[in-house]
Amino acid sequence: MSEETRFIVESSPQIRHSDTTAGIMWHVSLALVPAGIWGVYVFGVRSLLVILLSIAASAAAEYAAARLMNRKTLSDGSAVLTGLLIGYNMPPLVPLFIPVVASVFAVAVVKWAFGGLGANWMNPALAGRAFVFFSWTSGMNAWKVPSSWAAADSVSSATPLGAVKTGLMDVAGEGGSSLGYLGDIGYSFSAMGEAVSSWFNSAGIAVSPYHADLFFGNIPGSIGEVSAFLLLLGGIYLMHRRIVTWEIPVSYILSFALLIWVFEGTLFSRGLFAGSVFFHVFGGGLILGALFMATDMVTSPITRRGMIIYGIGAGALTFLIRIYGSLPEGVSLAIIIMNIFVPMIDRYVQPKPYGVKKTRGGAS
């Protein structure tokens, strides 16, 4: 060997896992792509424009903010992911300036004002969405019927959650259920939903077209949230790659489902333990939120137990906001509120070190 050879000398360990921060961000983005393609398929090419605008605005804000700080961070993928999530959280007919404002607010204010990636304490995409949601309410409710609906007599329609919420305000609590109520008001469904329904029914399993439409995404809603099925596939991919761990999504969805099952039926005077779990789990932004937003590493706890507490908190808050609040949806707000609790959770929920009898609670 030549005398010129120089070896790298650094502290152990001498080998590293191949995952990188940027790799994680790109994998999460990749896992989101199928659900986005579905959104564009059912809501039209304009949805693609919304998503691309969000990404472009987010990336531009990242580049500018990093430039100010003399850093180059665009390649870490986090800004693209933020933009992608903002686009997914927009209604299809949103005025185009709204996603741009949301993205710039998310990246420049929520993320970079605190020091950039890793330093923000609130999920940037959700904070951006909340900012524009309360600023331009009607623009953020510009829903569109999916192209897959058979009998679409108008362009816009309420989301399933919205329709039930409004209905309940008009006719408080008769017998029935959320899902049944959709049928009562003649809520549309797709040919695909009908086909799946009759296939199951012929096998002796009672499945309504609404079940299938909620699960596969033939409903009005935010661009990227409607296809629970494809989002779940993406989530499973991320868990398989060990990028997302089960704690947050599972504790979030299970605690929410449990509360819905116990209490939601009371809205229809059906008493306890009669809630429409399927309707609430797949009918809104829960799957997108639980798999892709609540699991944002920066703004979630670092210990397993902490993650479970955080997930249960998000589930309970989503339940409270959706069922007893005035808004039909509650996922974004619930996650944002839980973000605030993360430092506290991390402080009080600490692993017990090896060989230590009693942990000094909340040390330093």
Binding site: V9, E10, S12, P13, D19, T20, T245, I302, G355
Partner: protein
């Protein structure tokens, strides 16, 4: 066979790479013309020079004497003339004095034989004296002086002697091959250690990826009438760490700041047990060991018995040289081993492997901000929070880091390995400990 056991917290699964050398029988390294024998090859106080320039030494002579309570003698494996005593860099990053000896060809060590019957009659004190005279230090990597470890302090007692044949570091097969090829001698060595420590029972812990070693040890134990239990352990790093091994085998945790003997255990490596056998029965000091020469940049990975003081270069050449330019050469395993500056680095008592790694294995990367993913926390076998400790140390809050159990970190590397932000967490822990030492002195 017993059910596989493991430790409770954390742990990682790096690619184990055992296949490169697990089937390679131990081969011998030819004697070098010049050897460089460092005076500090163990944990604790360096030995003090017992020879000076121009002295002629015989193979097996003590060339540096243990000084202080935790220290060990250093012997020369070959005879010759001491050309100089000079400071060299050892892999751990320290500069220590070493004897450079021009080897007299044909000056090999003459073993003498003590029969098994004679060895039977030795008292625990006599055995401890042999271990001390032979300069035995733990061969697992940390190289803790063995006579200190085997002497159970007054008021304590050893219930279980745990023999560490786990070898959880990727690539390494030195212990594996030793168990396969020298199970009988190894077991006899264990019996002497049991006598020294007074341990009531013996458990040999072997990771489940070494079925041949388990078979060899169980077979030899049955043949020689030893009642030692072989405990298979789940393949998981750092299964072979003393504290994790105790946890896996006994379910007990060594108290923070305490020693294995506090929970009635003594843990020692299979290599050390073999060294004890050689010391007792062949009166041979510890001056050679088995080294796994492996890594993707080595042409013919193999296991080599090499003498202390042999330059890495010779072992690499015996393994066919480099197949490609390595980006890192490591003394020991890839998780806790040290990257070396050059191939003149000599083999020492704790050198379990020499690895030549390529860029693909090293996965070097640019450090990016912590995104609090929690992988370091989940991987820490000690239940610590590496990212939190790192932030404290980074801000100079050393006392606070100590309160968060910094001193319980043994630098196993799980956190740094898992960190996607490529933060040098272990290096941070080292810095924090160093600063604490400086503050207290």
């Amino acid at each position: 066979m017993l059910k596989q056991r493991t430790f409770r917290r954390g742990g990682i699964h790096p690619p184990d790479k055992k296949r490169l050398t697990e089937g390679q029988p131990i081969s011998l390294c030819p004697d070098p013309e010049v050897i460089t024998v460092p005076f500090s090859q163990h944990l604790g106080t360096p030995a003090s020079a017992a020879v000076s320039k121009g002295d002629v030494v015989n193979a097996g002579d003590i060339i540096a004497e243990a000084s202080g309570f935790i220290s060990a003698h250093i012997h020369t494996p070959l005879g010759g003339e001491v050309k100089e005593i000079r400071n060299i860099f050892i892999p751990a990053g320290f500069s220590v004095p070493a004897a450079v000896i021009a080897v007299d060809p044909g000056s090999s060590f003459q073993e003498s034989v003590l029969t098994e019957g004679e060895a039977e009659k030795l008292s625990p004190e006599e055995l401890l004296d042999i271990v001390k005279k032979c300069g035995i230090a733990g061969l697992g990597g940390a190289a803790f002086p063995a006579h200190v470890k085997f002497k159970v302090p007054k008021g304590k007692h050893a219930d279980v002697l745990i023999i560490n044949g786990v070898e959880c570091e990727p690539y390494l097969n030195a212990d594996n091959r030793l168990m396969i090829e020298h199970a009988g001698e190894l077991l006899e060595g264990i019996s002497y250690i049991q006598r020294m420590t007074g341990a009531k029972s013996v458990i040999i812990g072997i990771e489940a990826n070494k079925p041949d070693a388990m078979k060899a040890v169980e077979g030899a134990a049955a043949a020689q009438g030893y009642t030692y239990a072989v405990q298979p352990l789940k393949v998981m790093y750092p299964q072979g760490d003393e504290k994790q091994l105790i946890e896996a085998v006994t379910g007990k945790e060594v108290p923070s700041g305490g020693l294995p003997i506090d929970v009635g255990t003594v843990v020692t490596n299979v290599g050390t047990a073999f060294a004890v056998f050689e010391a007792v029965r062949r009166k041979k000091p510890l001056f050679e060991r088995i080294v796994t020469v492996s890594g993707e940049a080595v042409s013919r990975p193999m296991n080599i018995r090499a003498k202390v003081g042999t330059p890495f270069r010779m072992l690499i050449e015996q393994a066919g040289g480099f197949s490609e330019e390595p980006c890192k050469v490591v003394a020991g395993g890839p998780m806790m081993g040290f990257a070396v500056y050059d191939l003149d680095t000599p083999v020492m008592k704790g050198t379990s492997g020499i690895l030549a790694l390529t860029r693909k294995q090293v996965q070097e990367g640019v450090e990016t901000p912590c995104i609090s993913c929690g992988r370091c926390v989940r991987s820490c076998p000690m239940g610590l929070q590496p990212t939190r400790l790192y932030h404290l140390i980074d801000r100079g809050l050393y006392q606070e880091a100590k309160d968060a159990w910094l001193l319980d970190c043994k630098e196993c590397g799980c956190c740094s390995y898992s960190c996607p932000a490529k933060i040098h967490l272990v290096q941070g822990m080292r810095l924090g400990k160093r600063m604490l030492r400086n503050l207290s002195s």
